[in-house]
Symmetry: C3
Subunit: 113 residues, 3 copies
Amino acid sequence: MSSEVVVVRIYIHEAEQGRRTNLQQEILALLHDRQRVKGVTVFRGVAGFGASGTVHAADLLRLVADLPIVIEFYDEPEVAQAAMKLLDGLVPDGHIVWWRANCRTIADGQPQA
Amino acid sequence: MSSEVVVVRIYIHEAEQGRRTNLQQEILALLHDRQRVKGVTVFRGVAGFGASGTVHAADLLRLVADLPIVIEFYDEPEVAQAAMKLLDGLVPDGHIVWWRANCRTIADGQPQA
Amino acid sequence: MSSEVVVVRIYIHEAEQGRRTNLQQEILALLHDRQRVKGVTVFRGVAGFGASGTVHAADLLRLVADLPIVIEFYDEPEVAQAAMKLLDGLVPDGHIVWWRANCRTIADGQPQA
């Protein structure tokens, strides 16, 4: 009733720059065009701080603040690893976290591992 | 100081329909009324794409866009598995991901496993 | 290409009170000042319910609702465990969940475990 997947979370900031344009846009483009993965979701945090120790906070008066962004996806282990390999050099070191999980599937006569 | 739990994340969209009404509402009703679980939280993504490849994006002019929704909960493994079983047939196949985790508890003389 | 980390998620509510002031602020202050951890991000849920069964929902007319908050961070296992120890007694029992994960790093001649 479950197949193995890898969940990946990428921690960046809204205003972070990639190679040519916004980092978030570059990551999404890579995941969408070069290594299609299932279930990519982008979350915006309301506050946070990173290695620099800067505190980012969202409030009604600062809608365009540089808030934390998490880009999450999951897929079969091989696909997820290939996607992460694509992101090497684009995403700052240490900002991609991944773990093994299970994806629930409805057994249709042929129970899955 | 920690007990074993299962973390469950369900990936849907805001406008997705369930059996009779909005899918998010049906999932929350099931988790709340039929199989009470601890700590249900609903998150709204700001962008994302699924198997269809459509890109959803939130901006100030499209407050009612069909954004990604993640419904997350955690509980003892047996309770979480029973809750997922209830959701079979309601949530599209492959949209529920779960993994084992630890829930920190303060030892009160009787250390927990 | 990956080092082991522990991912920690703390589940509270926006209006929850800590020892002296707002709980979220107290947790962030502890993590920032007392036990610096990498990558702290605060997420606000749009709905949820806890052990009390109360349903919290965000809508355009209730911007100040008492919504669910998740404070997430990851770090080396020893640092994450020390951070959780600091939070004992501040965060209500059973509201901290953690699991082992991998943090992707780019091998620079010296492959990491």
